[in-house]
């Protein structure tokens, strides 16, 4: 990439920092330059987030129609998969799959719910109701 071709587009990262890129000058020598972003990758990130939002919405609908427990909703909201939920809660993946069923979820004791609430960084009340405030 030539220095004059370095894109200076807008991107989410811009809130935090410019990034270092490597490019050649007219003599073909490399040096570092700063870039504010590249529209091509900004869109790639946008596409990923649109998909995540869609997944969260689908999960919400599944909970509302009683096809899944709120754990599914929070799992998607926190960008987790069952492996990550398992690592944070200490539950086996098999157990979590059981807890994803609404009937089983409703019978869970508070000490188990608390583990999920901590993993999702919410209160037990929020876990049950899908109403979440803050982060």
């Amino acid at each position: 990439m030539k220095k004059e071709d370095i894109p200076q587009d807008d991107g989410a990262l811009n809130k935090l920092t410019k990034e270092v890129v490597y490019a050649v000058d007219s003599l073909g020598n490399y040096s570092t330059e700063l870039s504010t972003g590249w529209e091509i990758k900004t869109t790639a990130l946008d596409v990923a987030w649109k998909d995540i939002e869609q997944r969260i919405e689908n999960a919400r609908q599944k909970v509302l129609t009683n096809e899944a427990s709120p754990i599914l909703f929070f799992m998607e909201l926190r960008l987790m998969d069952i492996g990550i939920v398992s690592a944070y809660t200490g539950f086996w993946k098999f157990t979590i799959k059981q807890h994803l069923k609404p009937a089983i979820f409703r019978k869970l004791a508070d000490n188990k719910l608390r583990k999920y609430a901590e993993a999702f960084n919410i209160s037990i009340e929020e876990l049950k109701t899908m109403n979440v405030h803050g982060e």
Partner: protein, 338 residues
């Protein structure tokens, strides 16, 4: 407390942590490209069956931790690396180290990394930062991908040091154990070692999971994505490829430009004109990776999307595989000691 740690921004976090940490023990000649090349950082892997964030498991760089390890190994620098089972002992060890004025490298997860923009906070656990001091409850942080230093509260730091999931850091910290005089000759030897290692990882492993074979394999797979996955998912997969290739940390073009810069800088230690020629080849490869990203963007934006468009996309990767294979072959022919 204050010490003389100097923050220097880099493209990639582990390169930056390695270069900046080695400076604290008096190794001043290593730049980011040299660190990357000595660490044999250039890579391509596409793991079958596995998915990351609901997309293909593709990476353009060596496993986290390897760049630091290979640099220290090649230069004969002893390393301390520690993981912890308890948060208390992890904090105690870190505090003792910092209070004695010695910065450390820390592997962290970015999901709870509060200073990152929300859009970048995925469950990615192989980010590297340097902790170089403490003021009250706040740890002073040098994140090499950022222009300036920052800080985290002890709670925030604990959370990212003990992020869970794949590649969980488990409080991992690492640092060079003692001062060491590194001569130009040692760097020159480490450069050759790094290049040989990279030749092996990119062209010496059979199968199509890693190296240039994997680039070719991915190119062929991409041509089938439209039929196999449908337009929307295929677009998501391509977006993921572009993110792995171009996101912060890569220096652009899937690390290919950093590697090209490395070969140029290696020339100062080994006056072989082939290095400059092969450097140009990697620049060319990086440029094609970026053209491929533009093509991919056309698809995930929905502007194009016919089978012919996917074929063009796949062909870019076939072309890159060929170019990089030849480049590494040319590197393997250099006679270093003549």
């Amino acid at each position: 407390m204050e010490n003389e740690f100097k923050h220097l921004q880099s493209a990639h976090c582990e390169n930056g942590v390695t270069t900046n940490l080695l400076k604290t023990i008096g190794v001043n000649k290593l730049t980011e490209p040299l660190t990357f090349g000595i660490g044999a950082g250039l890579f391509f892997v596409h793991l079958p069956f596995l998915k990351i964030n609901n997309g293909p498991a593709i990476a353009f760089r060596a496993m986290p931790g390897l760049i630091f390890k290979r640099n220290c190994d090649s230069l004969g620098i002893p390393v301390e690396r520690k993981k912890f089972s308890s948060k208390e002992s992890a904090k105690k060890y870190l505090d003792e180290r910092i209070l004695s004025g010695k910065p450390v490298g820390c592997q962290v997860g970015v999901y709870y990394l509060t200073y990152f923009p929300k859009e970048y906070r995925f469950h990615f656990n192989a980010h590297n930062i340097i902790v170089y001091g403490k003021e009250g409850d706040r740890y002073l942080i040098s994140d090499p991908v950022m222009e300036d230093v920052t800080s985290l509260s002890s709670y925030e730091l604990e959370r990212v040091r003990f992020a869970k999931g794949a590649l969980a850091p488990r409080g991992q910290i690492y640092f060079p154990k003692e001062e060491k005089i590194v001569t130009d000759e040692m760097i020159a030897n480490a450069i050759v070692k790094g290049i040989r290692k990279n030749i092996f990882y990119m062209t010496g492993i059979p199968g199509d999971v890693v190296g240039t074979n994997a680039i070719k394999g991915t190119g062929k797979k991409i041509k089938k994505w439209r039929d196999k996955l449908g337009q929307k998912t295929a677009g998501l997969y391509l977006a993921q490829l572009v993110r792995m290739q171009e996101e912060i940390g890569t220096g652009g073009g899937g690390f290919r430009y950093i590697y090209a810069a490395f070969l140029q800088q290696a020339h100062a230690f080994h006056p072989k004109d082939e290095l400059l020629e092969i450097s140009k080849t990697f620049t060319q490869s990086g440029d094609i990776w970026r053209n491929a990203a533009v093509q991919a963007a056309g698809i995930y934006k929905g502007r194009i999307g016919s089978q012919a468009d996917f074929d063009v996309m796949g062909d870019y990767l076939l072309q890159i595989a060929e170019i990089e294979k030849n480049a590494f072959r040319a590197l393997s022919k250099i006679k270093w000691h003549s």
